[in-house]
């Protein structure tokens, strides 16, 4: 089998596992898996910004928050969820490019500072503008959508809805990556001097990646609001932005599967290790440090190494006389 076929087969098996996984598990695991799926979407967005074009954003939580509040505001007033998707995507895309533009005009890396300030600003708007956001009380009774007459009100149904979103986002990013845009991202990251010399508008492509990354944050927010059916400002702080960035790095930045693994380590694993209680966070922090020290390419890098080792071993055993 050639590598491409192998990859498609692996993706197919992965999708089947994700479909079968929640069956027989309690409702709470459906909630955790839904949270994992939407967190992965937010991390995929950040992977575009950080992993593909190398820009650090410390404001991904703000975009998730904007997506969540847009959804809460619209759907509690009777608008369909589709309207929330469109508005959240468009607003975050526009804000992302608005923040990226001034940051890229400077030679120094300004995006972390601009997004940091933006994140704080958005958080304060969520908390203080009671007339719009409900302040610290937030917005209640966010409805879950119905799809083709099927309700997603039950936890399992909603998980499949999140999974469907994840599949669509993954396919879109896969398409993007193998298109000339993806090649331009890789080229400008590898050698901006040459990229400009062959006519690649490095600023424009970087801006596109930042804006798309922000927009995917918005999409994750739409799902977040519908999952919890309630939004308040607390989750959308710097902590979430940093933890999303850690997921990207831990999974393997710039790798398609990185966000899946990073989000699993941050969202699903703690549930499995509940007995460890507070030590989990300690262990997680330690794991990130060790991973960065020894395998800067993240879990995907570790996976690559293991794969090479296994292949070498099997090649060696095939050569060895019986």
């Amino acid at each position: 089998m050639n590598p491409a076929t192998l990859r498609y087969a692996a993706a197919g098996i992965g999708a089947l596992v994700l479909i079968a996984l929640p069956l027989g598990l309690p409702d709470y695991s459906h909630y955790v898996l839904s949270l994992w799926a939407l967190t992965t979407i937010a991390a995929i967005g950040l992977n575009l910004t950080f992993g593909y074009v190398g820009q650090i954003s410390l404001g991904q939580a703000a975009f998730v928050g904007i997506g969540a509040y847009v959804t809460a505001l619209l759907t509690t007033r009777g608008w369909p969820l589709l309207a929330a998707y469109v508005l959240a995507f468009a607003a975050c895309f526009a804000l992302g490019s608005g923040l990226g533009y001034p940051a890229l005009r400077a030679r120094r890396p300004l995006l972390p500072f601009i997004t940091l300030a933006f994140g704080t600003f958005v958080f304060l708007v969520f908390r203080n503008e009671d007339w719009l956001t409900g302040g610290i009380y937030g917005i209640n009774r966010v409805p879950r959508p119905s799809l083709f007459g099927l309700s997603t009100a039950a936890p399992l149904g909603f998980y499949y809805f999140c999974l469907f979103n994840l599949v669509v986002v993954t396919a879109a990013v896969w398409w993007l990556r193998r298109s000339p845009w993806g090649r331009a991202f890789a080229a400008l990251r590898a050698n901006p001097l040459r990229a400009e010399a062959v006519g690649i508008d490095t600023r424009l492509y970087t801006l596109i990646a930042i804006a798309l990354g922000a927009a995917l944050g918005g999409v994750a927010g739409v799902l977040y609001a519908a999952l919890l059916q309630y939004v308040d400002p607390t989750p959308f702080s710097l902590t979430m932005s940093v933890s999303l960035l850690l997921m990207v790095v831990m999974g393997g930045s710039g790798r398609s599967l990185g966000p899946f693994l990073g989000a699993a380590a941050a969202v699903v694993l703690p549930e499995g290790l509940r007995f460890a209680q507070n030590y989990y966070l300690l262990g997680y922090a330690l794991a990130v440090i060790l991973l960065m020290a020894f395998w800067p390419a993240g879990l995907m890098g570790l996976f690559d190494r293991l794969l090479t080792m296994v292949m070498k071993l099997s090649a060696a055993s095939a050569k060895a006389p019986p």
Binding site: L176, S179, A186, A187, A190, A197, G199, I200
Partner: protein
């Protein structure tokens, strides 16, 4: 015929010293101009000023009579100007084929069509031709960073031709190349010039490589033009006698 590229009184000062001092020349379409001069004579700075990497202190550069002084590299590329680099500048993590396609894709279709269109931007055949033409056969799916130095240099040069440029500025193309590759490279460049009418400006220290390729020569010394003209007359003038660069 109007000049394809004209450089008028181009000057670049660093403090009081003029590294490039009132340099003027013109190239008509299809010509091959060699720029020679000893190390420190201002060749590279002249190139950087023409290609917009350095802002000239005075003077101007025109392409087809339109001023392009200080224009960004990617805008120059859009106008059909390509360049190669003295030390190969590649996208090391990408394959040879992807390096080539990346070098041509921005001149194909619109931004939108590059997202929704075919992944190779319709350049797979051109890339394959380039691979064969520049003797990189069998290396299409190799990662560019894993090529030998000479192969990297050839790839760097091949990339300049992916967008079918009108003017190619070559920065020491024969340096780092094996004797066995130099001659074929010269042949390839001559063939492109003959078939596509592509105009070249070449800096090169290797005079043998240069002399049998260029149609015109410009000799620089201390930033000034000391000889300029068709290759026979400059060689006959003896201005290159002490020059080995």
């Amino acid at each position: 015929m109007t000049a394809l590229l004209s450089v008028n009184n181009l000057t670049r000062r660093f403090g009081r010293r003029a590294a490039v001092d009132a340099v003027s020349f013109e190239i008509a379409p299809g010509e091959i101009l060699g720029v020679v001069g000893p190390g420190g004579s201002g060749k590279s700075i002249l190139f950087d000023c023409i290609l917009g990497r350095l802002a000239p202190s005075a003077g101007e550069v025109r392409l087809d009579g339109r001023p392009v002084t200080g224009m960004r590299a990617r805008d120059m590329s859009r106008l059909g100007v390509a360049r190669t680099f003295q030390r190969a500048q590649l996208f090391p993590q990408l394959t040879v084929r992807d390096n080539l396609i990346a070098a041509g894709q921005e001149r194909r279709g619109s931004l939108w069509s590059r997202l929704v269109g075919p992944p190779d931007a319709g350049l797979a055949d051109t890339a394959a031709e380039m691979i064969a033409f520049f003797r990189l056969d069998g290396l299409a799916v190799q990662t560019a960073g894993n090529l030998s130095e000479g192969q990297q240099k050839l790839l760097d040069i091949a990339m300049a031709f992916m967008a079918r440029p009108r003017l190619v500025v070559l920065d020491e193309p024969a340096t780092d190349l094996d004797e066995t590759v130099r001659e074929p490279l010269r042949e390839r460049l001559r063939a492109i010039n003959a078939q596509a009418g592509t105009t070249f400006v070449i800096i090169e220290r290797n005079l043998d490589f240069m002399a049998s390729l260029v149609t015109h020569l410009l000799v620089l010394a201390e930033g000034r033009v000391v000889a300029l003209g068709d290759v026979q007359s400059v060689l006959a003038s003896g201005m290159l006698a002490s020059d080995d660069g």
